[in-house]
Symmetry: C2
Subunit: 498 residues, 2 copies
C-alpha cells in the first residue's frame, strides 16, 4: 500500500524529489495513454454529456481541505474522459484541429519554464526565438530582409485588434493621449464574409461597429474591389476618414481569399492602412503550390497569421506582423519604470513587452519554433498540400453525389468545403420556403447525433440567405482519405431519416 | 545505435505509437531533470548571456529541412540551459515566481487536451470548471451566492481593460455601435501608484491617456480618497463624465492597498463604476489573517484577480470578475453564427465565447482548479501567510541594519519590501544631489552583478522622486528564511565596493 501523498510532500519540500518524480510520471502516463487513444479511429471523438448532466457526473467543487495526490490523478483522468479528442482523425469541428507531438512537447517545456515574455531579463531564450521566428514569417510574407515588427498575441481577434489600433495611431498619433474625441470620425472596411473580430475590435477601441463598413463579396466570398472603392469614396464624401481596410486571406466559412493586389492598389490610392487577416489562410504561404492565393500580401501594412490553425501548432499561437518597425512600440508604450528600466546592463531593444497591450504575456513562440525545427518549412508545406488535397478529394466525392449540394461552385481554394446534405424526403421537393425551412433543420440534427454517437464532429452555420450548411475544414494532420469517406457516409447514415 | 527518428515517424503516423512514447518520455526526462535542479540552491538562477552572445551561442535559425528528433531533444536542453529558473528559491524578480507541481501537471494536461474555450461543444469540462471556479472566486469576494459574471483573460492588463470596456458600456451602451464620437468625454480615476495598464487600456479604448486622472497617494502608496473626490468634482465641473474608478489592491511597487470602503462610498455618491485591480493583492482574500486589507472589495462592480501571481498558479491565469451578470455578453457579443449557433442541442448559456474580446481563448482555468483541489483553500492560505511572514522577516532584518534604508515606513502590508542598499562609500555623505545621483546607480549595478553571477534576482526601479531602489516581493513557495538571509548578504557582497 502506498502511503497517502499530498501536494505538500512534493517539491519544493526539502525531501520532495522522489514523490515529485513519481507523481509527475503518473500524470505523464495518464497523458500518454490519452494521446495514443486520441489517434485511434475506434475511439469516440467525444463522450458527450449535457452541461447539467456533466455537472452532476462528478463533484467538481472547490473545497477548503486538500485532496490526496491519488485523487488529483483521478481528477486528471476524469477531465480527459470528458474532453474532446481534438487530435482525433475525425475531428473537423474548428479551424484548429490535430495534435502535433513536437508542438505538444514544446508546450510542456514552456509550462515547465513558466515565464513571461515582457523582458529579455526573464525570458532570454524565448524573446530571441520570438525575434527569429517573426523575422522568418515576415520574410515569407515578402518584406525585404524580413524587416518590420510584430508580436505573438492571444489569438487572431486580438491580432486584428492590434492592427486596427496601430493603423489608427499611425494616422492620428494624438489619439493615444487625447482619445477619439480629438480626431475625426474614422471608418474601416472589411468584407461581409470577414471575421467578426473586426467589428469586435472596433467596438472595443471606441470606433463603433457602425463605422465598420461591410463590402460586398462575389459568389465565392471574395471582397469585390469596385464595391470597396465605391464605399471609400462615399465615406469620404460624408466627411468620414477611412483609416483601415481589413482584407481576408481565408474567410472563416468559405475559405475565400480576397483579391489582395486590387485591394492594395485601392489602399495605396486612398492612403489607407491595409491589413490582411490571414489567421486562417496565412499558413498557405508555406506552400509553393498554394501561396499565390495570397499574392499582394507583401503590400500589406500588417498581417494576422495564426500558426495554431492551418499549421497545426497547439493553441494558442497567433502572430501579428507589422511592416513598419517601431510603430507598435510608440503606439502602446507606457514606460513602466518598474519593468522596463532604462539603465539595465543589456540591449534594451530586446525588452519587447511595452509594445504589447498585455503586461504579462504567455510564451506562445516555442511550440512554433520547435515544430519548425522538426518539420522544416518543407514539412509545413507537405502538411498544407495534403490538407488541400483532402479537401479537393471531398469536393470531388460530393459534387455529383446524390443528396449532397455544394454551397459554392468550383474547387475549394482553401480546405473549406461547404455543402448541404439533403435527406431523401427533401430531394424531390420544390425549391420553396418550406423546403428551405426543413433543410435548415437538417444540419443541426445531424450534428447533435454526431456528438451523441461521438463518431465525428464538423461545424455548420447559416450564411446570408443560405440556410444551415456544413462547413468542412481540414487542418488535422491525422485525417486521411478514409476519414473523408467516413464523414460522408456518417452524414448519410445520421441524416437519411430526416 | 538507435535509428534516426524524424517527426513524421511519430503519431499520427500509423505505426508511430512506440516512437511517440519514446520521444515524449525523453522530453519528459529532460523536463524532470530540469525541475529538480530548479529547486536546488546550489544551482544558478540564471546562466546569463547578453542577447548578441546568446544569438551566437547556438544556431537558432529556421530552415527548410527538418531536424532529427535527437536534434529536437538537444534544442529542448539548450532552451532550458538558458532559461531563467523561475521556480528557484532565490528567484524574486517578478510578482509571479515559483513553480507548483500540480499546477504544472495541470498545464501539461491542458496542452494535451489542446482545445479552445469559446464553446461548451469543444471544451465541455473546461467551460464547466471555469463556471465553478469563477463562482467560487466571486463568493470569496463576497458577492451573495457567488452571483455575477467573469472570465479568465490573458493577463491582468487585459482584465483591467475589460473592466474599463464594460464600465463604459454600462453607462453608454450606444458606444458599441456609435463609438466614442456619440458619447460625452469620459474620465477615469486611478492612483498615481496604480498599474500602467489602466492608461494602456484607456489609450486602446479610444478614451486617451489624458482622460485617466491620477489621484495622489499617501506616503505608503494608498490612494487619498479626499483627493479622489476633489478630482471627480473638478472633472464634472469641466463637463467631463467620470465613469470609472480603478482602485488598487496591492500596488506593483509598494504593495499598497487603496482604502476600498472610502472609495466605494465616493463611487456610490457619484454613481461611478468601481473597479478593484487586485491582480497582485487579490490572493490575500484566501487568507483569514490578511483579507481585511481588501475590506470593501465586495462593493466593487468588477475585480481583477491574478491567481498566477500571489497564488502561484503557472502563467498565465488572470480573472476578471463582474458583479452584474450579462453585461459582458451584451458589451462584447457579435453573434457569429458559425460559432455560436442558436439551434444547438444543449444549453447555450455555456457557450461563453461571445462575452470575450478574444475569439480563440486558451484554457487557463484547469491549472487553478486542480491546484485548488490539491491544496484546498487552506493550502493557498498557508502559502500566502508564509510569504507575508517572510516579508515581515525581511523587513525586521533590514530595518535597523547598517547600509539598508527602507523606502516606506512601517511593516509591509503585502510581501513588497522596498529598500535602498547604501554602500559604505555613501553612508557618511550629506543627503544632497550628488548622493542621490550616486545612489541611483547602485541598484542597477548590483542587479547586473546578480545576473552575471546568477545567484539571485530581485527587481529595482525609481518611483516619483525616489531614485532606484530594490523592490523585494515574495510569492515563491520555495523561498525560506535562509533565502532572505542570502539575499541580504548577497546584496552586501555585490555592492560593498560601489
Amino acid at each position: 500500500v502506498r502511503p497517502i501523498s499530498m501536494v505538500h510532500h512534493l517539491l519544493p519540500a526539502s525531501d520532495g524529489e522522489l514523490a515529485t518524480l513519481s507523481f509527475l510520471q503518473d500524470v505523464m502516463d495518464i497523458l500518454l495513454q490519452y494521446l495514443v487513444t486520441n489517434f485511434d479511429r475506434s475511439t469516440k471523438v467525444i463522450d458527450f454529456h449535457y452541461p447539467n448532466e456533466l455537472l452532476q457526473e462528478y463533484n467538481w467543487d472547490l473545497a477548503d481541505q486538500p485532496q490526496t495526490l491519488e485523487e488529483i490523478l483521478s481528477n486528471c483522468r476524469i477531465a480527459l474522459k470528458y474532453a474532446i479528442k481534438t487530435g482525433h482523425p475525425r475531428y473537423f469541428n474548428q479551424l484548429s484541429t490535430g495534435l502535433d507531438m513536437v508542438g505538444l512537447a514544446a508546450d510542456w517545456l514552456t509550462s515547465t519554464a513558466n515565464t513571461n515574455m515582457f523582458t529579455y531579463e526573464i525570458a532570454p531564450v524565448f524573446v530571441l526565438l520570438e525575434y527569429v521566428t517573426l523575422r522568418k514569417m515576415r520574410e515569407i510574407i515578402g518584406w525585404p530582409g524580413g524587416a518590420g515588427d510584430g508580436i505573438f498575441s492571444p489569438g487572431g481577434a486580438i491580432s486584428n485588434m492590434y492592427a486596427m489600433l496601430i493603423a489608427r495611431f499611425k494616422m492620428f498619433p494624438e489619439v493615444k493621449e487625447k482619445g477619439m474625441a480629438a480626431i475625426p470620425r474614422l471608418v474601416a472596411f472589411t468584407s461581409e464574409h470577414s471575421h467578426f473580430s473586426v467589428k469586435k475590435g472596433a467596438a472595443a477601441l471606441g470606433i463603433g461597429t457602425d463605422s465598420v463598413i461591410l463590402i460586398r463579396c462575389d459568389d465565392r466570398g471574395k471582397m469585390i474591389p469596385s464595391d470597396l472603392e465605391r464605399r471609400i469614396v462615399e465615406a469620404k464624401q460624408k466627411g468620414f476618414v477611412p483609416f483601415l481596410v481589413s482584407a481576408t486571406a481565408g474567410t472563416t466559412v468559405y475559405g475565400a481569399f480576397d483579391p489582395l493586389i486590387a485591394i492594395a492598389d485601392i489602399c495605396k490610392k486612398y492612403k489607407i492602412w491595409m491589413h490582411v487577416d490571414g489567421a486562417w489562410g496565412g499558413g498557405l504561404l508555406m506552400s509553393r503550390k498554394h501561396k499565390w492565393k495570397l499574392n499582394g500580401v507583401e503590400r500589406a501594412n500588417s498581417v494576422t497569421w495564426n500558426p495554431h490553425k492551418m499549421m497545426g501548432v497547439p493553441l494558442q499561437c497567433s502572430a501579428l506582423l507589422v511592416r513598419e518597425e517601431g510603430l507598435m512600440q510608440s503606439c502602446n508604450q507606457m514606460h513602466a519604470s518598474y519593468l522596463f528600466q532604462q539603465d539595465k546592463h543589456y540591449d534594451l531593444s530586446y525588452d519587447t513587452g511595452d509594445k504589447a497591450l498585455q503586461c504579462g504575456r504567455h510564451v506562445d513562440v516555442f511550440k512554433l519554433w520547435l515544430m519548425w525545427r522538426a518539420k522544416g518549412t518543407v514539412g509545413f508545406e507537405a502538411h498544407i498540400d495534403k490538407c488541400l488535397e483532402l479537401a479537393e478529394y471531398l469536393y470531388n466525392k460530393i459534387k455529383n453525389r446524390e443528396g449532397f449540394e455544394l454551397v459554392i461552385e468550383g474547387k475549394p481554394q482553401h480546405t473549406n468545403v461547404c455543402f448541404w446534405y439533403v435527406p431523401p424526403s427533401l430531394r424531390n421537393m420544390e425549391d420553396n420556403e418550406e423546403r428551405m425551412n426543413r433543410l435548415s433543420k437538417v444540419a443541426p440534427v445531424i450534428k447533435a447525433r454526431m456528438m451523441e454517437y461521438g463518431t465525428t464532429m464538423v461545424s455548420y452555420q447559416p450564411l446570408g440567405d443560405k440556410v444551415n450548411f456544413f462547413r468542412m475544414v481540414i487542418s488535422n494532420p491525422a485525417a486521411a482519405h478514409q476519414d473523408i469517406d467516413f464523414l460522408i457516409e456518417e452524414i448519410e447514415r445520421l441524416g437519411q431519416d430526416l
